[in-house]
């Protein structure tokens, strides 16, 4: 029998239904819509009380009820029961009256419970792969089943293909949605971390502000009583008779010295704070100008008397806060001058040495020197090896902090007591003109 002959045997309503189903297949990309059209038309055509389309899913998932016509009968079977209609569970042809089923058939109990008297099952395959199955329940007569079977067998291939496509499309859509969701989640996470960063920045700015206010308070509020103490003591002392008890004179001296020392300590601490928080720009200053500036300040304070000073003629231009850079040589030279001991010919040599990979700055003296065990101790806060020397133990700490700030390192070399010492340091970040590189 040719297919043309087959067509001629179909009733007009069957042919109309076939056209409608195929046009529906062409229009619909949603498995649900497709199932709805398919089951509605089949129900009309066959007179079956209920028509279902069950999408096949591989183990361990249960098959999915795509659509049941009429809708209210979609709960005729539980999903576990529906799964039993799958060909894997109940193989072979399944077209019968309920009472024909053997008593031990797994479908007998659910069919009886649902009050179903007859049914037909049609597999829908595409490319040899099970896509879905059509289930028809309570058919009006067996002769209608034969006609129905003919039509369904004819339509099975396009229906299966359309269903397969719709299911695949739905899967892609679902994956796209999941992807979209994940992108949204990640975007939210990013926004969250961006928000956290902003909060951290705000907190840091607040802390910086507090620190600046602290500096400010220290510089003003703590100095005010110091001015009162020192100057009032000076005033009192100046009004007392010259021939004062020497003990009293000494006591005045201690008290006034303590106030001045406290002030220097405050100033050094303030300077230490400012190293990390303030940089007045990256102007370029030649090495010699910086050293000369330090030497001038020390000479003014009469601190280099009798000391032979040698300064290297050549040196690099250093980029950074000029005052900060001057402090390095100021404290190192001051330190060298302070610890000359009983050297008859005190000398300080300020040099620059260039190697392949770095520029090394040196401040060398022929003074007291530093014994090996103490060489690592001199850069700590308030570390002072000689308590009798006039100092706060802050100078070298300050120098180290400034050297650190410019990405450098500092070390001291000394052969031991009375062998002199040499401070060697690098300032790599100050050798780069940041204004030009950025």
């Amino acid at each position: 029998m040719s297919s043309t002959d087959n067509h001629q045997q179909y009733s007009p309503s069957a042919q109309l239904m076939a056209i409608e189903v195929i046009s529906e297949l062409l229009l619909s990309t949603s498995p649900h819509k497709l199932g709805e059209a398919l089951t509605a038309h089949l129900r009309e055509l066959t007179g079956a009380r209920t028509v279902m389309v069950l999408a096949h899913r591989p183990e361990p998932d249960l098959d999915e009820l795509l659509y049941a016509s009429p809708q209210r009968r979609s709960r005729l079977f539980s999903s576990a029961e529906l799964n039993l209609f799958c060909r894997d569970k109940t193989p072979g042809e399944l077209s019968f009256l309920a009472e024909e089923l053997s008593a031990d058939h797994p479908l007998q109990a659910p069919l009886l419970r649902a009050g179903v008297r007859s049914m037909a099952r049609y597999p829908l395959r595409a490319g040899g792969e099970m896509v879905a199955q059509l289930l028809l329940f309570d058919l009006p007569g067996l002769e209608r089943i034969a006609e129905t079977s003919q039509i369904i067998n004819l339509l099975a291939a396009p229906i299966s293909l359309a269903l397969k496509n719709a299911l695949a499309f739905r899967l892609i859509e679902k994956q796209a949605q999941e992807l979209e969701l994940r992108v949204e989640e990640r975007t939210a996470e990013l926004r969250q971390s961006e928000h956290q960063l902003k909060q951290q920045k705000t907190r840091l700015e607040q802390r910086n502000r507090v620190l600046r206010q602290f500096n400010y308070a220290v510089s003003h509020e703590l100095k005010t009583p110091l001015v009162s103490i020192e100057s009032s003591l000076g005033l009192i002392q100046s009004t007392l008779p010259q021939t004062m008890d020497p003990e009293l004179t000494r006591a005045f001296g201690y008290a006034r010295h303590a106030a001045r020392q406290m002030n220097r300590l405050l100033e050094s601490l303030l300077l230490m704070f400012r190293i990390d928080t303030e940089d007045t720009g990256a102007e370029g200053t030649p090495f010699r100008v910086l050293v000369q500036d330090a030497v001038d300040q020390l000479t003014k304070g009469n601190k280099l008397k009798g000391i032979k000073l040698t300064i290297a003629a050549e040196g690099p231009v250093l980029f950074g806060d000029r005052d900060k850079l001057v402090q390095i040589w100021l404290h190192l030279i001051d330190n060298a001058a302070k610890y000359m001991g009983d050297q008859k010919h005190p000398a300080i040599d300020i040099r620059v040495e260039r190697t392949d990979h770095e520029v090394l700055f040196l401040v060398r003296d022929n003074g007291m020197g530093i014994e090996k065990p103490y060489q690592g101790k001199i850069f700590g806060l308030f570390d002072q090896l000689d308590k009798t020397a006039d100092g706060m133990g802050l100078g070298l700490t300050l120098v180290k902090r400034i050297v650190d700030y410019y990405g450098g390192t500092i070390r001291v070399e000394s052969a031991g007591a009375n062998q002199g010492s040499c401070f060697c340091f690098t300032l790599p970040d100050a050798l780069i003109n940041k204004d030009r590189t950025t």
Binding site: Y216, S219, H220, V227, S228, S231, G234, Q237
Partner: protein, 140 residues
């Protein structure tokens, strides 16, 4: 020089010890000076504008030099400075800020307001006297 002709300094300072120091330093360097001391910026403005207790010009004569501390109750030194330098009547009176603060911010604010000199109070009696002397030599 008689006391009537002596130059007048208006000094605003809330710290009594510092006020005493300025007074003593002036006595030791510039004897012939009429020093008028007030303890905050509000009183300094009252003095300048002859308000309340400062109405009598013989007791509260126009100053030839104004010395200002920066941080004072009610009205600070910078505010007084701004008023003085914005009033044509007082603009020509030299104003020297005398403070413990060496903060760059304070210095630049004072300069922006037109301060004539900015001096940091030293923690050293001798230096303090020297600074007062230097201020008087320069601005009186």
């Amino acid at each position: 020089m008689t006391s009537e002709k002596a130059r007048v300094i208006l000094h605003a300072e809330d710290e009594p010890a510092h006020a005493t120091l300025v007074r003593v330093a002036l006595q030791r360097t510039f004897g012939e000076v009429q020093l008028r001391q007030v303890d905050d910026g509000r009183a300094a403005l009252d003095y300048l504008y002859r308000r309340g207790a400062y109405a009598d010009t013989t007791v509260s004569p126009r100053p030839d030099l104004i010395l200002l501390d920066l941080r004072m109750p009610h009205v600070g030194g910078l505010e007084v400075l701004a008023v003085v330098k914005n009033d044509p009547e007082f603009r020509t009176i030299p104003v020297v800020v005398l403070t413990t603060s060496d903060a760059a911010e304070d210095r630049s604010k004072a300069q922006a307001c037109g301060v004539d000199a900015y001096r940091v109070k030293p923690v050293d009696f001798g230096k303090f006297v020297a600074i007062i002397n230097e201020i008087c030599v320069t601005w009186l």
